[in-house]
């Protein structure tokens, strides 16, 4: 069995670069996104990124606040009950980050089209309104005819639109559990991670738990991301923090607000970088930032029972650390 476990720092060094097209995001703006991967990209100083954020999350918020995002395609860009994404919005309003708006459904369909390698996806939404007419890439054309061009149904002669498809160079996908080959289980809404995993050129998993492959063989219908499309796996509990992960931990309200407030200014962002990005390298250092008391509280999620069937296959940290050394 191929062992694809590598460290977070290795994964970011190997699979990200300045100016790349990078996809991330998961079930909801405050949910199971690979946030820690974005922290490491920030630590390694990636710039000029083209993000495909589905949806927006603190990862997008952080990278945009740092001025590292040249362009982002997104459906929902905010943080839901935690308000607008202040770091992102600062970058958008200043013109530093180009934002290309679609609906959430359109983003899902565009991943589907990328996964199928279609040249375009039929569009029945985002039409006849400003998502069609306004293009961040072509701001001087209004209404823009190039972003979602018109096509004709060859059967009925009716008009509809066409979306361009999404084929990110790399996607960092958060999963609840993975085996060391890269077969992965997501609990909770899979959002568009199934399609994203097939649309991306390369997939890096960010896994909260590493399990023995016996788990996958008992529950193969749960394995929606397959080792066949996975390049590398990063083991990182609390990877979505301060966001939440179904079955594992709730959203950290305090840090959600603190982080968003700090990212609202350049000074705050610099401080955030010091305190919550440069301040850790290991999983233990990262967890110390969250704090054991808070971890206990957040882990007491009402969804914890969803993990019960799988606990017996979870590998211990020392075994995973040994596998990382190999990988």
């Amino acid at each position: 069995m191929t062992n694809k476990l590598i460290t977070l720092a290795q994964a970011v060094a190997r699979y990200t670069w300045d100016g790349m097209t990078y996809a991330h995001g998961a079930a909801f703006p405050v949910g199971a996104d690979s946030v820690v991967f974005g922290r490491e990209m920030a630590r390694q100083g990636r710039r000029g990124l083209n993000l495909i954020s589905h949806c927006g999350s603190q990862q997008l918020n952080l990278l945009a606040a740092l001025g590292a995002v040249r362009r982002v395609e997104v459906g929902f860009s905010g943080l839901e009950v935690y308000g607008f994404a202040k770091g992102l919005n600062r970058a958008v309003v200043s013109g530093q980050t180009i934002i290309e708006d679609y609906s959430n459904g359109a983003m899902a369909l565009r991943f589907l089209g990328g996964a199928l390698n279609w040249p375009f996806v039929p569009a029945t939404v985002c039409l006849n309104n400003d998502q069609q007419w306004c293009s961040g890439d072509h701001p001087d054309e209004y209404p823009c005819a190039r972003k979602i061009p018109e096509i004709t149904d060859p059967f009925s002669g009716k008009k509809l639109g066409a979306f361009s498809v999404l084929r990110p160079q790399v996607a960092a996908i958060h999963v609840t559990m993975a085996d060391m080959e890269g077969n992965a289980i997501m609990l909770g809404s899979e959002w568009s991670r199934f399609e994203m995993a097939r649309a991306a050129g390369q997939v890096v998993l960010v896994a909260e738990r590493i399990v023995d492959q016996g788990c996958m063989r008992q529950y193969p219908n749960l394995v929606r991301i397959i080792s066949e499309v996975v390049e590398a796996i990063v083991y990182w509990p609390w990877a979505a923090w301060p966001q939440s992960v179904v079955g594992l931990y709730d959203s950290d309200e305090e840090h959600m607000l603190l982080m968003n407030d700090m990212l609202a200014t350049a000074e705050g962002t610099a401080q955030y970088l010091e305190r919550y990005v440069r301040a850790f390298q290991t999983r233990a250092e990262f967890q110390a930032l969250i704090g054991p008391e808070k971890m206990d509280r957040l882990a007491a999620t009402a969804t914890a029972f969803l993990m019960d069937p799988y606990r017996r296959w979870i590998l211990p940290d020392d075994q995973i650390a040994a596998l990382e050394q190999e990988g």
């Binding site: 860009s77 009950v81 200043s94 899902a108 985002c126 309104n129 306004c134 809404s189 899979e190 959002w191």
Partner: protein
């Protein structure tokens, strides 16, 4: 009755939903309004959110997100966005939906994307906004596809504009048959429920008029807080107060009291 305006709005919104309907709820308050309806009078409402969370009722208060842990503790199914927004909503299958609005115009077009000094339709150019909002999220898919949808918004003059800066989620576009000509499969907004009253679209012109006002408000107050010359129904009525049971059911869903604030 000891009930906030937001609670009144949520209950008035929930009353628009009927038992047995297939319904999708957007972020924040609209979710509370929707799950209130399921708890109160529509036990067989087939409710879901845009991440494909089915069969659930939020626990622990206002969900942090459209499919967060508070919504995921008692679901019967988790699928994904393609299923919820594509197969069930954009397809035209969904009966009813609830969405929010940052800015809204007299034809029920919704802006949740940004506020401009000079909006794109006026400038003929798409410059960065003065204020960036959240984007449409799934609301555009809902506005295009749902058989009908209900818009919730705090009622003030800045929000209720003659014309929105940016159409994130289409209502009746320029009114009349404009929506029909656009070929959208869904029927459009059936009501705007505000913190002051209820607006509904004229069957022909599709311009929203005042249908009813909350007991603590008035026709004058509402007209004053609306950015266009709001027409008033000849039969304008007062919205019935929430019953004790309605309020109890709402508060059972909103267990952290997010609608009781302010």
């Amino acid at each position: 009755m000891d009930c906030t305006r937001q609670e009144f709005m949520a209950i008035a919104t929930g009353r628009e939903l009927k038992d047995g309907e297939l319904a999708i709820f957007g972020v924040g308050l609209s979710m509370l309004a929707g799950y209130f309806a399921k708890k109160n009078h529509a036990p067989n409402l087939r409710a879901f959110t845009e991440g494909g969370v089915f069969g659930s009722t939020p626990v622990g208060g206002l969900p942090w997100g459209i499919e967060c842990t508070r919504l995921s503790a008692n679901a019967t199914s988790f699928t994904g966005a393609l299923d919820a927004l594509g197969f069930l909503v954009a397809s035209g299958r969904c009966d009813v939906a609830i969405i929010g609005a940052a800015q809204i115009d007299k034809y029920g077009n919704v802006n949740t994307t940004g506020i401009w000094r000079e909006p794109p339709w006026k400038a003929g150019r798409y410059a960065p906004p003065r204020v960036r909002l959240n984007g449409s999220g799934g609301a555009n898919d809902i506005a295009v596809g749902a058989k009908r949808f209900i818009i919730m918004a705090a009622h003030d003059k800045k929000r209720f504009a003659e014309r929105v800066d940016y159409i994130s989620s289409p209502g009746y576009l320029s009114g009349g048959d404009a929506r029909e000509r656009a070929g959208f499969i869904g029927g459009g907004p059936s009501a705007i429920i505000t913190t002051l009253g209820i607006l509904r679209p004229h069957p022909v012109s599709k311009e929203f008029y005042l249908d009813a006002y909350f007991p603590f408000s008035s026709v004058e107050e509402i007209r004053e807080h609306t950015g266009w010359d709001l027409k008033v129904s000849a039969n304008v009525r007062v919205v019935p107060e929430p019953t004790e049971q309605e309020l109890a059911n709402l508060r059972a869903v909103d267990s952290t009291g997010s609608l009781r604030k302010k």
